[in-house]
Symmetry: C2
Subunit: 214 residues, 2 copies
C-alpha cells in the first residue's frame, strides 16, 4: 500500500478532491487534527491535536515531555486527518443512510522548530486557529514558556479531501415507501461565554468572542 | 513503545480516565471515529469512519471493495480515536489557551462479521448511532445490500479517555492583566431538516428528527 497513490480516494472517487483551495479551505475551518503514526512494531497510534496551517505545513505543538512530539518529531512517516461534520443524511433504507462531511487526509513527516522567535510567532497562530483575532488580545509566550513547548513543522507531502454533500440517494425501488428522507444540517454553535473564576474584574468580553456570537 | 501501557495517558495524568462508564459514555455520544492502521512499511493511515458500539466492540462498516476494510479486517493492530469538542479555553497568555474536550483512544484488532442476520442487526445499530430511533423508521438492509457491505467487529483490548473541562489556568503573575479570560462553550446544533428532492409526498418529519430539534 505504500505507493505514490497513498492519498488516492479509491471508494466513491467523485467525492475525492486534490486541489489546494479545497484542501486548505477545510484545514482552515477546523483546529483539531487526528494525528497518526506507528511504532517500530507496527502498532498505530492516533491522537487528537490542535494545529495551525501555513502554506503546505501543519504545525503541531505539545509539551517537550510528550512521547508523540518526540516520536513524530523524529521524522517518521505520519498521517493526519481533519473532519468537519455537516449533516445527517436520512434515507428510506438503512443502507443509504450517511453523513455529510468534509475531510482531509495529509501524509508527510515532521521536524522540530527550535528558533525562539519563530516558535513565538507560530504559537500565536495556534491561538488564532482556536479563535481568530485572539492572539493580539492576549500575552505572547515568554522565554520560559517557549522552552517548555515543543513545536513540530509537519510538511504535507500528499493530501486529499473527501466531501459528501446533498441529499440521500435512495434506490428507485424505494421511491414510494412512506418513509421521510432528507438531511438534518449540523453546525457548531458557540454558547454565551463564561468568565473565568479568577477573571480580572472589569474586563469586557473581547471582540474576538463577540464576533463568534453574532 | 509497544508495551502494555500503550493506552496510558502520560501528559497531564489527571486528565486520564480508564473506567468503562466514562469510556462508553464518550463513545456513545459520537458516531465518527478516526481509525488508524499502518502498512507493512510503517506508513500510517487515519480515516474517519462511522461506528457503532456494543459492549467492548466497535463496529465499522464500508464497501466490500474498501482497502481499509480489507486491511484492518485482516486482524492487524489498529487504533481508533473519538473526540468531542466542548469549548474554547481563553487564557490571559497564549501559552494557557486550550480546548475543552472529551476523547477516547482504543487499541485492538478487527475481524469480519459475515453472518447475514447478525450483519442486518448491526447495520441497524449504525442507523441509530447516526440518529437514535431512526432504524425502526426506515427499511432494513436486504440480502443484496448485506452482500455489498463489509462489516468489521473491532475488539477493544485497551482504552483510555482524556477529558479537559473547566476554565483556563492562568499563571498567578498574570492575574492583574486587563485581558478577558474564560470559556466559550461549543455544542453541535441541528438545523431545520431539509426534505430530499425526491421525497415521498405527504410524509411528515419523523419522531427521530423532531426529538433532535426540541
Amino acid at each position: 500500500m505504500r505507493t505514490k497513490a497513498r492519498n488516492k480516494v479509491e471508494r466513491i472517487p467523485k467525492r475525492g478532491h486534490y486541489d489546494a483551495p479545497t484542501i486548505h479551505g477545510i484545514l482552515d475551518s477546523a483546529c483539531i487534527a487526528h494525528v497518526s503514526f506507528a511504532d517500530a512494531g507496527g502498532q498505530p497510534f492516533v491522537i487528537p491535536m490542535l494545529y495551525a496551517r501555513e502554506g503546505e505545513c501543519l504545525y503541531l505543538h505539545g509539551s517537550i515531555a510528550s512521547r508523540l512530539m518526540k516520536t513524530v518529531g523524529s521524522g517518521i512517516a505520519a498521517c493526519a486527518c481533519v473532519t468537519l461534520v455537516d449533516g445527517l443524511v436520512l434515507a428510506r433504507s438503512h443502507f443509504h443512510h450517511s453523513m455529510n462531511y468534509r475531510s482531509v487526509v495529509v501524509f508527510g513527516t515532521a521536524e522540530p522548530v527550535t528558533d525562539a522567535s519563530e516558535k513565538a510567532a507560530i504559537l500565536a497562530r495556534f491561538v488564532d486557529a482556536i479563535l481568530p483575532g485572539r492572539a493580539a488580545e492576549a500575552r505572547a509566550a515568554d522565554r520560559n514558556e517557549l522552552k517548555a513547548t515543543s513545536l513540530l513543522r509537519f510538511h504535507i507531502e500528499q493530501a486529499s479531501a473527501k466531501i459528501r454533500s446533498g441529499g440521500p440517494k435512495d434506490d428507485p425501488a424505494d421511491a414510494t415507501l412512506p418513509i421521510w428522507s432528507g438531511v438534518v444540517p449540523i453546525a457548531q454553535r458557540h454558547a454565551e461565554p463564561i468568565a473565568a473564576e479568577d477573571a480580572t474584574p472589569g474586563v469586557p468580553v473581547p471582540a474576538s468572542v463577540l464576533r463568534l456570537l453574532d
